[in-house]
Symmetry: D3
Subunit: 340 residues, 6 copies
């Protein structure tokens, strides 16, 4: 059976596919008949579905967070698309997670190969052995290839962590040539390892979320703990080098308010922080601009950056229709909205 992507559903379409039930509520019409309201999701969006027949029997088969196989018909009700569900059953088979999670557009195998190749360029034997010990750890590598780099913003899809890590490593290579004062080996090792704790900070089976450890300890400290564990087996790793490398990880968010327990204290720590920031912003902003569906030359208001983004080129005509200043701006006790 073909899967109808939720974003593609149009009036009167016949809909079929496997969907994640993210909400399930029993209701009652004014006439006293039971009905079932569901939210069905795949990686392209979410839609409301209604079951009007056999309600109790169908409802008893599955619970929220299950994946169900659905057949139905799309129509509009109160200006919103809805599916009138004609058939529904729980899908007991192993789920194809790619239905529910986006993936990197790039090949993870190729990316890993390139990252390994770049790592082999590290001349310091201690740092090279440390990286090698991670690359030889199959459990680590399989997670590292799969993990996203974030729940929201940048590289927030399967394989995103690897894609981001590789991108940072490539820029590190270029900048190490551009700024010869940089210690290329240390910076590269930091680039490869700076976010590895995300494989434990996040969960990413049918959706991306934080794990309990992730919320309580954070990927920065988790990364350092993972490095520490590998270092246990590398007996002659120079202590100052280990300290410098851990400092790169601990300080890579740059400032306290972004959760860095330490601010950068030497050149490579600054470089890693700035390159990481550049890569995250380039990836995340490109996505905001691509995904935006607002008409006109400006995106919808972006809360993370507290501004509208310019999409330009379309038309320079002002559209008065845009929603008002978001509440957030209002904490400026000045009367002129300054720069949305």
């Amino acid at each position: 059976m073909e899967h109808t992507w939720i974003k593609d559903i149009k009036e009167n379409d016949t809909v079929s596919g496997d969907y994640l039930v993210t909400n399930k509520t029993l209701g009652q019409t004014r006439q006293g008949n039971a009905f079932l309201t569901l939210t069905l999701a795949d990686r392209t969006g979410a839609i409301e579905g209604r079951v009007w027949d056999n309600v109790e029997q169908i409802a008893s088969q599955f619970k929220q967070r299950d994946v169900v196989t659905v057949v139905g018909q799309a129509n509009t009700y109160r200006n919103q698309m809805q599916i009138q569900i004609q058939g529904l059953k729980r899908n007991p088979s192993p789920v194809d997670t790619t239905l529910f999670l986006d993936s990197t557009p790039q090949n993870t195998g190729h990316m890993l190969s390139e990252l390994k190749k770049i790592s082999h360029g590290i001349e310091n034997r201690h740092l090279k052995m440390l990286i090698d010990s991670f690359m030889a750890d199959h459990r680590f590598v399989s997670q590292f290839k799969k993990a996203p780099a974030a729940k929201y913003f940048h590289h927030a899809y399967l394989g995103g962590l690897l894609e981001h890590t590789l991108s940072v490593a490539r820029i590190v290579l270029q900048m190490s040539q551009h700024y010869p004062d940089l210690d290329k080996d240390l910076l590269l090792a930091g680039a490869v390892l700076h976010d590895i704790g995300k494989i434990e900070e996040l969960t990413y089976d049918l959706g991306i979320d934080y794990s309990d450890r992730g919320r309580l300890l954070g990927h920065i400290v988790l990364s350092v703990l993972m490095v520490e564990e590998k270092l246990k087996d590398l007996k002659d790793f120079p202590p100052e080098l280990a300290t410098r490398l851990k400092h790169l990880i601990l300080s890579h968010h740059g400032e306290f308010e972004f959760g860095s327990p330490k601010r950068p204290k030497f050149l490579e720590a600054f470089a890693l922080h700035l390159i990481d920031d550049l890569d995250a912003k380039m990836n995340g902003l490109s996505k905001i601009l691509k995904d935006d569906r607002q008409e006109g030359s400006w995106t919808a208001f972006n809360h993370l950056f507290q501004r509208y983004f310019f999409k330009g080129s379309v038309t320079a005509k002002a559209d008065e229709n845009r929603e008002g200043i978001p509440a957030k701006e209002s904490d400026q006790p000045y009367l002129f909205p300054v720069d949305l």
Copy 2:
């Protein structure tokens, strides 16, 4: 007639009791018939009610903010519980305010006795006489026993001010022993008096709110004005002692941004601020954790603290269902949500 608590109402229940009308709106069906939509509240929650018969006659009997006696039937409409009201009349008798406001779980008489007993331990005769003059003021005492400590967060229920004051006073006793540099008498007097202005800052008859004086002057200044008034009658009260005591009150929020016109300038002022903060947070956080109804190991997002709280123990499995990053976090122009 028994009172049905709003939080306990379930589908098809017969509902009866006295409720506060917090919203009253006349509507008209597409067929042109009048109906009445009400919001009914007691201290456990609020629910929508509908009157379909005798609408004009019933509507003319009462107005918003009245307490009404209701009989009706609960059902679900568009996924929300509603009461179809069959009988409704204004309740003209004196209202039992405990229907509408929570109260401290502790006995206010006992708490007051203990606070008096602790106050009797003050050795400085001036401070003791000052506290005594408050305790001998019946109008003050009756309000002091009844007032809440806040509209929202901590000790936000009848008797909460006394409960909080006593708790702070107890800890003050312990810390005065732990840190012998502290002037126990001054600190105790400050503990007893630091929040007394709340009996004027807040109103607490059928709900907790700010009074006009409260919003315009605030409990910190109101507390000082109340102390000043009592001091008028204590002619030989040492001026510097009076100044120190008033400073304790004026600085007990610790920082300007929390409305303190003065920051703590000596040891007892710091101690009172820190102990007050500890008691408020312990009480408030315990309540957040107890009242939370979110499934899984984390509470719903708490806006006051800008974070989720860990309830732990249940399961470490991630639930992807949690609502997205709240808008507030977005004023951090960094791409990684840092620490929710």
Copy 3:
């Protein structure tokens, strides 16, 4: 045909007039019939309208942002006023923009005359010639008379820029006498020119919004560019005087966080900033207080100022009905809401 103002529409009224269509959506009843949902706006508000007959034919005649001539009947549906539209056609004639935008309560001709008269009091011949060159520029003057001073808050209506400019200029005259150290000529010239960039920053045909140039460059820099252009033709304008004048414009928001690329560096720059701020706040606050419809002695929560405003006089009784603390307050990690 008479125009029915939207704010005046009452149950069962017959409604007629020209309205701006700010939203247009085709829907379908459960029975499969098409209907049209519109949002109709004039300068007094917006209302929903429904077309049930001849839907396709009517819908094809106009698009969103068009002005349409409407005849219909008002009724209440789900507690909201609605227009059942009986006749609708696109209005092809030039639109009377005053239907859609508020205007200054004052006469723009008189205001411009007074501003010119005040400007003639400038004794420095260079500054006087510069102001004259603007006043002789008909395209500029026609925009300057029409432009609002803001999209939201203060003087946010046609003619608002002129009204605000004149008000600032009047106060400047008074303060120049009060503080003799002030260079009246420079300050007056700054007062007249400080906000002229708003005629390009904003669009104000059927509504007020930002232009693309406005969002990307801002009225502060646009004002300086407009001054620079006029200065090109005033060959012997003293360079330091030009620099001082531009500094007045660049620094008139006072602080970086309000978009000033420079902070005030001499007395006149401070004076202009402070007087501009005073005038904006007096105008804006008066409007908030006048427009507020909240019952009781306090306005609805104002997000721009993060507080309730006191309307006083009515009654000092507390109303518990007020909405809770808005989310924004919650970024204070202290438990007492400090000062709403």
Copy 4:
């Protein structure tokens, strides 16, 4: 005997006059002889003085903070002007405080008369009686005429409080006409009373400093306590009016971080805050510009405003000699000094 002003002392001058001893230290030359090092001050500055003869006998006559009559000779030692003291005795007579403290350039009697006249224009009889009760309080008036408005910045000289109060009241009169929504009576009363607590917050006998009460309670709360005391005798003063007036005082610093326990909540409170700020800045900045002795077109770096001020007119040539960026600027982790 003529008083030689310290700022006028030049190499080889004979110096005579009454000076305040702000520092007194006994020293010993390498040869073992005692000598006395003093810091002598009058209102124009401070200078070091040395006594080489009769050291013990002279030193025993006076102590630090005494006023002494001195005769001596000025010379330069290590690039600093110094007085070789030939005669010194304690001055036992009542001190002419004008030697040590600057005074307002205006006549305090005239200023008080004008302020009273303006106050008589208050039409509300309660507010008028309140102001009258202060003006009839001789002890209050004599302090109010003498007190400075600050220790440092604005109106920091004897009579400064009255000068500032009158200036604010005058502007209030003008703005009440300019903005007819303002309640002139309330605003005027607030203008007269907003800073009266400064007569207790500061001490101003031989220098301006904070009193203990001033540091611990602050002039904002002290002003409210003084108003409260007078209100005791005005039995029928309307409570809401009293609350509004006290709110004007409590909120006149505008923001929490400037020590306001309340932020302005209605139009007059905003107006008072903004006008007070304007007057303080105009007075203070004029003084900075007048007192500055830096060569070139810029003042010395001003720490209060974190910037240099432009004195202009002199020459546009850059002088490289200026001291470097002060340390304070360095807390901006950006590499470009932004706006000094």
Copy 5:
């Protein structure tokens, strides 16, 4: 030979003892003779010393940071006490560090016993075993007994870490009874372990300073790494309990800006943060007040807290002699110094 404490040296005293050379500079008189200027320190202060004879021979014997045995004579030169050194030789024997570092006034043996006794009250066997494994680690215990809790402010002396840890643990016991919702075992374990990383963050042989690891990694992360290492040997330690305990350590500074990579997420984490803060402030403030040598009722300006502290009781008279507002205050662009 008796050690003359530097703080006790008076004019003409004969001085003898072992001192740390913190500065050593060779100079030349105008006559061309060499002399040696030293800064000599013990734990009570520092003083300048001069060697005039045998300069080269003596200078060649020792270098900066050595401990030297000195005999000399105190005299005053340019208002500063100085030692004319008559004999000086390097002290080759093991140094008595108590000469150079303050120590806790309490008995470290007794404190450790009490801390162990309190730890034995932990009922959870995992947490108890973890604490035991630290207490059984002799190298750890010897450092833990010796380490200070800070370089500057609170408990900044040998044994300070243990003293602070014990004090926090004692309060934790009391608060666990006061607030029964607290998990006493977890909180106690957190109290004992929260600062252990300071034994590596600081060095404390002849003075307290940060180690390189300390500056680059910080005691918060170092503490977690030390806990992680002990947990390796406790195979069945429940993972969630370990995560909670590590979270207590990671979040105990409370806010990002104080270097916490995580903010408290459950009740015990808040409690530990608040109690730690209370204890640090009580200890540090007591010390500031005790050590202050400023005359009058106020301490010298304290930069850490940006205020003067009130010592009271002495005299309420204002002393105009106090130094001006420190530069730091000046970053408030408001004209009234708010609250020093």
Copy 6:
């Protein structure tokens, strides 16, 4: 005559060369003899000089800011190197500015060629013509080759602006390939023009300082004004492209608090800001690390970044001798110095 660099002067050296007089003061010995104290500077530092003979005659020959030719002898007085000046005369010939200002280590001709070559790669003919119009402006180019990029931190030497601009342009080329969403032409044009206003913001004859226009208008606005002037001659330059380019310049400091009147609103604006920041920090930090003269593994405290930097490698031993926490840190009211 050879020039003795000030940084190389050692005890007893004979000194000769041309130096800038940055301070000139006449003094008098206790015996009544005149002497002259000078501060002499070249680009490597500054030193004090003394003239004891022919004082009046010599002093009359030159004034502060003149360049003088000096011969003298170095010796140490009170621990500071000093020059006893034996001969001094004003140098009337054109000054060799390289004695007083550092220059870029790179060849400015080569750098300019490379920048032109990179600019030729711009394909958009409008942007290419704009850049060409600057490169064809000889007056502009000669300043652009000479100007520094800052007064203090990064590229603060002659040729620094060109060096920085070229470095940013090179990275832009690389990043345009790495992130294909970037509009290379627009970004390159922005890179070349973003800082051109610095040729007017700064003066750089015998030292680097701000011009009056620079302080009052700033290089950001000056750059836009310079672009605007060139655009006047490029009649068909697309308006939206001009707006985008100006936005790149206006927003390149990234945040309001760094003087940007606009924050970045599209991808290229973000990229330019982040690359500019990276280049400035890499250049500036490398210089801090190279110029630091502090012994041990850490630099002196850096006020711009509010931290010490790690130089590592030397020795991991802690040196207790380091100066205390700088005052700035003290505005954190937390007791633990967090992260120096």
